[in-house]
């Protein structure tokens, strides 16, 4: 009867070893355990207690087996951990958000209700995040066990300095883009992008002039002023992030309100699209696409500003 505990211990140790070494380990381990039990009995321990304490001292059979088979006792070791963590953070920051947007857009285009859109897109983003965590980790666990090499880290892998985000190039790009946008708004009204039989059909609703359009142009001017201030200050700060958020939210709510009320686009232009393409669905689909773009750009702008402000903050 006293043999059963030892037999169970040896079986638990040996079963995960390669078959070629199983018999050898079994024979050696049973001799070692018998020696240890014998020594304890000679010291006056009762046989059963001696066996128990000898096996307890050997510890978890899985640990012992890992030692025999030279297996790692971790999922991802120090060699791969930083790369794994960097990659996972990068993917989790990008992919679920893209899936959320894409699924929401698809549902909206299919004409689903708001509850359905929100539920489906959040569920898709969550399951994407879960899949990312699982598969990325699995790949690194396999790498850890096959010992495939990673390129050595060099200084080229250093992240960009945060200051470069507020440089001259950014100022010029922002001002040029804002100038083009303001030009496009006025051009649409005066000369027109769309001409049918010599007659101008503005894309944007002409009744937005003068008040709504003045507001829109004022926001563009505010963006330009913001870009100049950012350039002068050289780095982002919490105050700048707040200002950036305010401008982005104002712009998005203005555009989305007008779009939602059906006031943004010239009704004549809508009629024209339906006539030309023969598709009465097209204006609605275009509307959804524009609304999504406006919302996505706004959210990106706000998040980007806060991230840059946090990075530039003296720690």
């Amino acid at each position: 009867m006293t043999a059963t505990l030892t037999q169970r211990y040896i079986a638990a140790t040996v079963h995960s070893l390669p078959p070629s070494s199983q018999d050898d380990v079994r024979a050696e381990l049973s001799a070692s355990i018998a020696d240890a039990v014998e020594a304890r009995i000679e010291n006056g321990e009762p046989p059963e207690a001696a066996e128990r304490s000898a096996l307890n001292e050997l510890g978890d059979p899985a640990l012992l087996a890992a030692g025999f088979a030279d297996r790692p006792l971790h999922l991802i070791g120090p060699r791969y951990y930083p790369t794994w963590w960097r990659l996972l953070k990068l993917l989790l920051a990008i992919v679920p958000a893209c899936v959320l947007g894409a699924v929401a857009l698809g549902q909206a285009l299919a004409g689903e209700g708001p509850g359905q859109i929100i539920g489906q897109s959040i569920a898709a983003a969550l399951s994407t995040a879960l899949h990312l965590c699982f598969w990325v980790t699995l790949v690194f666990v396999i790498l850890e066990r096959t010992g495939a090499g990673l390129p050595d880290w060099t200084v080229d892998n250093l992240p960009e300095a945060p200051e470069s985000a507020s440089g001259r190039v950014n100022l010029i790009a922002s001002l040029a883009f804002l100038g083009l946008a303001a030009g496009a708004l006025t051009w649409d009204r005066s000369a027109g992008f769309v001409r049918i039989a010599g007659e101008t059909v503005p894309v944007l609703n002409p009744s937005l002039w003068p008040w709504w359009m003045t507001g829109l142009l004022a926001l563009l001017a505010a963006e330009a002023a913001f870009a100049v201030v950012l350039f002068a200050r050289r780095r982002w700060s919490a105050a700048l992030a707040v200002a950036n958020t305010a401008i982005a939210v104002l712009f998005a709510s203005l555009a989305l309100t007008l779009l939602g009320r059906g006031q943004l686009v010239n009704p004549e232009f809508v009629v024209l699209i339906v006539e030309r393409t023969g598709s009465s669905d097209l204006p609605r689909i275009l509307g959804v696409l524009v609304a999504f773009s406006v919302a996505a750009i706004g959210v990106w702008d706000v998040v980007d500003g806060w991230l840059k402000a946090r990075r530039a903050a003296p720690s």
Binding site: D24, V25, A27, E28, L29, A31, S32, A34, D35, A36, A39, E57, L58, G59, L63, L64, G67, F68, D70
Partner: protein, 110 residues
């Protein structure tokens, strides 16, 4: 010895068990016997570290092994191979150098 230094002591002693095994096994020995011998000479080691270590050293060609079935209980006897002897030599020389280096550090203090 306070428990607060256990980690550092463990860190410092890691590797000395290999050298002790290579030296002791110039005379053939088996798992449990070696465990006792190490303990008696101040290299106390856990059984679950020593047994896998012996197999690893054998796999690296630093130990050779042979089953002895003369007695009632068959035992696997390990013995330091020529390569193991060379390693023991190198490790001992390095240990002496380290001792001298450490001594020179403590000399500076005084």
């Amino acid at each position: 010895m306070g428990e607060e230094f256990d980690n550092h002591l463990q860190e410092l002693r890691r590797g000395t068990v290999v050298l002790a095994c290579l030296q002791l096994l110039r005379v053939p020995g088996y798992g449990y016997g070696l465990l006792e011998a190490l303990d008696g000479r101040g290299f106390s080691t856990d059984a679950n570290t020593l047994y896998p270590l012996l197999r690893r050293l054998e796999k690296q060609g630093l130990l050779t092994s042979e089953w002895n079935t003369d007695e009632a209980r068959p035992r696997k006897f390990y013995r330091t191979s020529p390569a193991g002897s060379r390693l023991a030599h190198v490790l001992t020389a390095d240990w002496r150098q380290l001792t001298a280096a450490i001594d020179s550090l403590s000399d500076q203090e005084h």
